[in-house]
């Protein structure tokens, strides 16, 4: 009997993933409403529980556990990007235009300050070769910019792993802290959501954090944030690497 059930789940992994996420969200929203009295949003609870559950697996988190392998497909980049694009349907063009300049500036500032803070800390942690410092700085942008820069420049795999870890920590940090800090930093309108997306950059963290704050803000933050990784991949291995060269001569 157990074998038959397991077989059905293995063969229909994605469908089982829908069920799992649905049940998790139901429990999270119930906990938020009745136990925590809406102090922590249900989405945030669900994401934190999901991150904790990821410890049961390995590289792919819970997706490494065979019966949950469908989660890797559901939470993979294809479905994620597809759903992010769909959120643009609700975006208001007038509001986007109004935040255009601020969004652009926040992107430039966001990529630069993340990179240089990451690079400076890496230097003080004893990484004194230009490849490692540049790669870890890139990892401070997002966990995609880090490895892309590292591979492009030829950094060691240990440093590339650290750059990915840095980006993941940033994503987790933003996911958890955004709903808690949103009020204090005035994150309650489309304009500041776009600035936020540009400064933070990590699309998953920005979108998850905004989803936990106010779902209406997601498309604005996510849209600017998606340009961040591209800009980071453009600047880190080129301009920023050249700038770093001046410090290491």
């Amino acid at each position: 009997m157990i074998e038959i059930v397991q077989n059905i789940i293995f063969k229909n992994g994605l469908i089982f993933a829908f069920l799992c996420v649905g049940v998790l969200m139901l429990l999270a929203f119930w906990t938020s409403k009745y136990i925590l009295k809406n102090h922590i949003p249900g989405v945030a609870i669900a994401i934190i529980v999901a991150l904790i559950l990821a410890f049961f697996g390995d590289k792919k988190g819970l997706g490494d556990v065979k019966i949950f392998s469908g989660l890797s497909l559901l939470g993979g980049s294809m479905f994620r990007d597809f759903a992010v694009v769909a959120t643009a349907m609700n975006a208001d063009l007038i509001k986007i235009k109004a935040a255009g300049v601020a969004g652009f500036i926040s992107l430039i500032v966001g990529v630069s300050f993340s990179f240089f803070i990451g690079a400076i800390i890496a230097f003080f942690f004893g990484y004194n070769d230009i490849l490692s410092v540049t790669t870890i700085g890139a990892g401070a942008c997002t966990y995609i910019v880090g490895p892309i820069t590292g591979y492009a420049l030829g950094a060691s795999s240990e440093v590339i792993a650290i750059s990915i870890a840095t980006g993941v920590i940033k994503t987790i940090c933003i996911t958890i802290m955004t709903p808690l800090l949103a009020k204090k930093i005035g994150l309650n309108n489309s304009h500041s959501a776009m600035v936020f997306g540009g400064l933070m950059g990590t699309t998953s963290g920005v979108a998850a954090g905004l989803a936990a704050t106010d779902v209406k803000l997601v498309p604005y933050g996510a849209m600017v944030a998606t340009f961040y990784t591209g800009l980071g991949c453009l600047l880190c291995p080129t301009l920023f690497y050249i700038i770093m060269n001046y410090f290491f001569v």
Partner: protein
């Protein structure tokens, strides 16, 4: 029909990815440069075009809105499949950089939000 909306979304998505990859090739990076961002711009443009020409159908829009609503469940599935162990084992440098960059980012949000902000607030 709903499938028209899903197809429109798929078309914008693939076109956006194509733009991103072409841009990537142009500057010699083997990757996607803001493909999702371009796809969103295409979808918004298609939406505006349809509204202007009165081609907008409720069911078509619902086909897109369904996938937009699936975003949160997908993010939760994504969180469950992150390599949290590596992030934990990456050592203190990863934690320090990740946390510090996030905190400084939060501090910069109200500062840069001042730029281009009109007196009449753009709130919902």
């Amino acid at each position: 029909m709903k499938i028209y909306g899903v197809a429109l979304l798929a078309g914008c998505f693939l076109l956006g990815k194509l733009t991103g990859y072409l841009l990537g090739t142009l500057i010699n990076i083997d990757g996607d440069m803001g493909g999702v961002g371009f796809a969103m711009i295409y979808l918004i443009a298609a939406n505006v075009f349809m509204e202007k020409n009165k081609l907008q159908r409720k069911q078509t829009k619902n086909g897109v809105l369904f996938w937009g609503a699936m975003y949160i469940p997908i993010v939760i599935a994504m969180a469950a499949t992150q390599n949290v162990k590596a992030a934990w084992n990456g050592g203190w440098i990863a934690v320090l950089v990740g946390v510090l960059v996030s905190i400084l980012g939060y501090l910069l949000v109200p500062l840069i939000s001042q730029i281009g902000k009109k007196t009449d607030k753009l709130e919902f």
